[in-house]
C-alpha cells in the first residue's frame, strides 16, 4: 500500500534525489559537530560515487575540519565566560562530473601557507635497528599529507577574516546514471542489480 504523498514542506527538507547530491552546513569547529557533519555527509553521498571515493572524501574533509578545530581558534576571540570562540565553519560539497568539489571556509586563524606546500610524510623510514627508533615515530603531522594525497586542485585564499579552502576529490568512473543499480530520478537502489 502506498503512503499518502508527503506535504510539500516536508519533501523539501529531504535530500535532493538524483545522482548529484549537494551538501551545505554551518557549524562551530568542534570534534563532535565535525563528526555529525561527516556522518550526515556520508549518508547523503553514499551511492553517488564508488565506496572508495566517498571514503576518501570523508577522510580528506575530516583532516581539514580537524585542523580547524585544533588550530583555528583565535586567541583574542573570547566570548562571555572567558572561553575562546571556536571558528564558525561553512562547508559546501557538490558532486560534479569528474569529481566531488569541496569548499570549506572558517573565521579562525589564517592558514599557514606552508600547509599547501608539497608534503612528504613526517616520517621517512626507521633508522637502522635499535629499539629507540620506535620512540621517534611521529604521532601527528599526517593531516596535510593525507589531504594532499586524497585531493586535487587544492587552493586557498584568505579574504577579510575568513579562510577559503577548496579542492576536488577526483572520481574516475563516469557519473552514475542510467546504470542497472540507479533509478531514473532517484538514488541507487541498494541491493538491486
Amino acid at each position: 500500500m502506498r503512503a499518502a504523498p508527503e506535504p510539500a514542506d516536508k519533501r523539501l527538507r529531504r535530500p535532493l534525489p538524483g545522482p548529484r547530491p549537494m551538501f551545505h552546513r554551518i557549524f562551530r569547529a568542534d570534534p563532535a559537530t565535525v563528526r555529525a557533519a561527516l556522518q550526515f555527509l556520508r549518508a547523503r553521498f553514499d551511492g553517488s560515487a564508488g565506496d572508495e571515493v566517498i571514503a576518501k572524501l570523508e577522510l580528506a574533509l575530516a583532516e581539514v575540519l580537524n585542523n580547524i578545530c585544533e588550530h583555528g581558534t583565535q586567541a583574542e576571540a573570547v566570548r562571555l565566560g572567558g572561553r575562546p570562540h571556536a571558528p564558525l565553519i561553512h562547508l559546501c560539497v557538490a558532486r560534479h562530473v569528474g569529481g566531488i568539489a569541496c569548499a570549506v571556509t572558517d573565521d579562525g586563524q589564517p592558514l599557514p601557507p606552508s600547509c599547501l606546500d608539497p608534503r612528504s610524510l613526517p616520517w621517512t623510514g626507521l633508522p637502522p635497528d635499535g629499539t629507540d627508533a620506535i620512540l621517534m615515530l611521529p604521532e601527528g603531522g599526517f593531516g596535510w599529507f593525507l589531504i594532499q594525497e586524497l585531493t586535487a586542485s587544492l587552493s586557498y585564499f584568505r579574504e577579510g577574516r575568513r579562510n577559503f579552502l577548496a579542492f576536488i576529490v577526483p572520481v574516475t568512473e563516469p557519473l552514475m546514471q542510467g546504470g542497472p543499480a540507479t533509478a531514473d530520478d532517484g538514488w541507487p537502489v541498494p541491493g538491486d542489480g
Binding site: P31, D46, L59, N66, W123, L126
Partner: protein
C-alpha cells in the same frame, strides 16, 4: 567509548566497539587502551596485545596518532598486533606507510565477519 577486554592464552585482545576512531575520541581511546594494557595482565610477562579493529569503519589521522602512541608506549617485551582492519582503516595505514612499521595481522577469519555498513 566502548572497548572490550578479551583475555587470551598468550596475551589479551582489546576489541574496539566504536565505528569511528576520530578526533572526538582519539585521546580518550589512547588513555583507556594504555591503562587496559597496564592493568589487564594476560599471562606471564604480559604477552602480546591484539587490537581488534574489525568494528572500526572510519579512522582519521587522530585515530592513527592514538594507535601509534599506544604502540610506542607498549611495555618492554610486549608486542602490539593490529587485527581486522577494514578497508577505510587499512587505507590510512597504507597512505602514511605505517603499515610497514606496525604489526598488522591480515587474517580476515580471525575475527568475526561484520558488515561494514548497515
Amino acid at each position: 567509548m566502548q572497548l572490550t577486554l578479551l583475555p587470551q592464552p598468550d596475551g589479551l585482545t582489546i576489541r574496539v566497539d566504536e565505528k569511528r576512531l576520530d578526533a572526538a575520541i582519539a585521546t580518550a581511546f589512547k588513555d583507556r587502551v594504555r591503562s587496559m594494557i597496564a592493568a589487564g595482565g594476560g599471562g606471564e610477562g604480559g604477552g602480546q596485545v591484539t587490537l581488534d579493529l574489525a568494528g572500526v569503519d572510519f579512522m582519521d589521522s587522530s585515530g592513527l596518532g592514538a594507535v601509534i602512541a599506544i604502540y610506542k608506549a607498549m611495555p618492554p617485551g610486549r608486542q602490539l598486533i593490529l587485527a581486522g582492519l577494514t578497508p577505510n582503516v587499512q587505507r590510512v595505514f597504507r597512505l602514511t606507510r605505517m603499515d610497514s612499521v606496525l604489526t598488522i595481522r591480515n587474517t580476515a577469519d580471525a575475527t568475526a565477519p561484520r558488515q561494514e555498513r548497515p
